[in-house]
């Protein structure tokens, strides 16, 4: 490490002339460079989602908590969940086999599959008569906890319906938000919160929410 005094003559202030200017040691420089590279590798998963149409830097379970806190400050608590839900939707579509852990159009097959995997019983409705056939379900991880993800179809569009217990008992009517081109409809009923995500039209999603029972 070098401790170089500021080298100037004449009437400049004393401190400027005589106090040590501590230069960053080379070892620190090298360490910081490798930390930056490591951090970039760690963040490379969110970059994949950018490619998938979702803004980078989304909160995910793997992103450390104060990063999430920063996001919370920027977009508010609900904004974080919307991002998580939208990115979970995108991830489910990114590769073959991500969408469903249980593949079935039968609600009586899908619902029992969650038994013992979650600490609550998700509501699984068959909406085929209304044009939204059930296609299956899987476990996902949102808001720091395991949640139920049900998949439905609306013509060619995939719908992800996430369900997990609400923080409070009150019901809430469906609310539509959009996030990076995806529509999200959320509502609360009977102690559960529901988050429906798709690239289908907002009207389609609101109709789904209505027939699902809100």
């Amino acid at each position: 490490m070098s401790m170089t005094p500021k080298n100037s003559q004449g009437g400049e202030p004393l401190v400027a002339r005589d106090a040590t200017y501590y230069r960053a040691p080379d070892a620190l420089r090298a360490r910081i460079r490798s930390s930056i590279a490591a951090e970039a590798r760690r963040q490379s998963r969110p970059k994949l989602w950018t490619w998938g149409g979702i803004a980078a830097g989304m909160a995910a379970a793997s992103v450390i908590s104060w990063n999430a806190a920063l996001m919370q400050a920027r977009v508010g608590g609900e904004g974080v969940l919307e991002r998580e839900v939208a990115s979970a939707h995108v991830r489910s579509l990114m590769a073959e086999g991500h969408l469903n852990d249980v593949v079935s159009t039968d609600q009586h097959t899908v619902k029992p599959w969650f038994q013992g995997k979650l600490d609550f019983a998700p509501v699984v409705n068959d909406l085929a008569p209304s044009g939204y056939p059930l296609t299956g379900g899987r476990l996902d991880y949102i808001d720091g906890r395991p949640v139920a993800a049900l998949t439905y179809r609306s013509r060619l569009h995939v719908l992800n319906l996430f369900e997990w217990p609400a923080a409070d008992a009150g019901d809430a009517k469906p609310e539509l938000v959009t996030r990076n081109g995806y529509s999200i409809v959320r509502w609360k009923r009977g102690g559960l919160q529901y988050w429906l995500v798709s690239d289908a039209s907002p009207a389609d999603l609101l109709k789904f929410a209505h027939v699902f029972g809100t």
Partner: protein, 176 residues
């Protein structure tokens, strides 16, 4: 250019300034290195929020805040509240009016004396003096980094220089 490469090219040129500030605030090499490394990692995560800010004051602000968080935890005695009242400022300004410390000290002070006196200054004065005198920063930049008004920067500078002057004089008297 990738995000990481962009970050590196913006931050690395200011690493000396970051280290110098951290070294003066923590007063030892090892802790300064730890604090700078932590601050840079923090800066990387906040990089999106940087927007159009200038890189140097932006980075130094994070370094400075990381330093004070570290000091509060590890050297609480170093973080004393400063008297930024108008009386304090006026007193400090008056003290520097009749004789600038530079004039008196130019001839005789040596580097060791200055370094020790500066190290012993309360952290709040030390940081503004380091930024102003060693880092050549403008009042405006210092105000942004330290999170205080420009008027407070000026009064702390005046008061800090005054304290530094008497501290150096005392040391010289004791030494002779």
């Amino acid at each position: 250019m990738s995000q990481a490469a962009r970050f590196e090219s913006m931050v690395m040129p200011h690493l000396d300034a970051a280290y110098n500030l951290a070294r003066w605030l923590t007063r030892n090499d090892h802790d300064a290195e730890d604090v700078v490394q932590e601050a840079v990692m923090r800066a990387m995560r906040y990089f999106d929020a940087m927007k159009g800010s200038e890189a140097r004051p932006w980075l130094l602000k994070i370094v400075r805040n990381t330093c004070f968080t570290w000091l509060e935890k590890n050297r609480p005695a170093d973080v004393v509240p400063l008297d930024d009242s108008e009386e304090g400022a006026a007193q400090a300004a008056a003290a520097t009016d009749f004789e600038t410390p530079e004039v008196i000290l130019l001839q005789s002070a040596n580097r060791k004396l200055v370094n020790q006196a500066l190290e012993d200054l309360p952290a709040g004065y030390r940081e503004v003096i380091v930024m102003r005198e060693i880092e050549d920063m403008s009042y405006k930049e210092i105000a942004a980094v330290a999170g205080i008004p420009i008027g407070t920067v000026m009064s702390r500078l005046a008061r800090g220089r005054d304290l530094l002057k008497s501290s150096i004089e005392n040391r010289m008297r004791r030494a002779s």
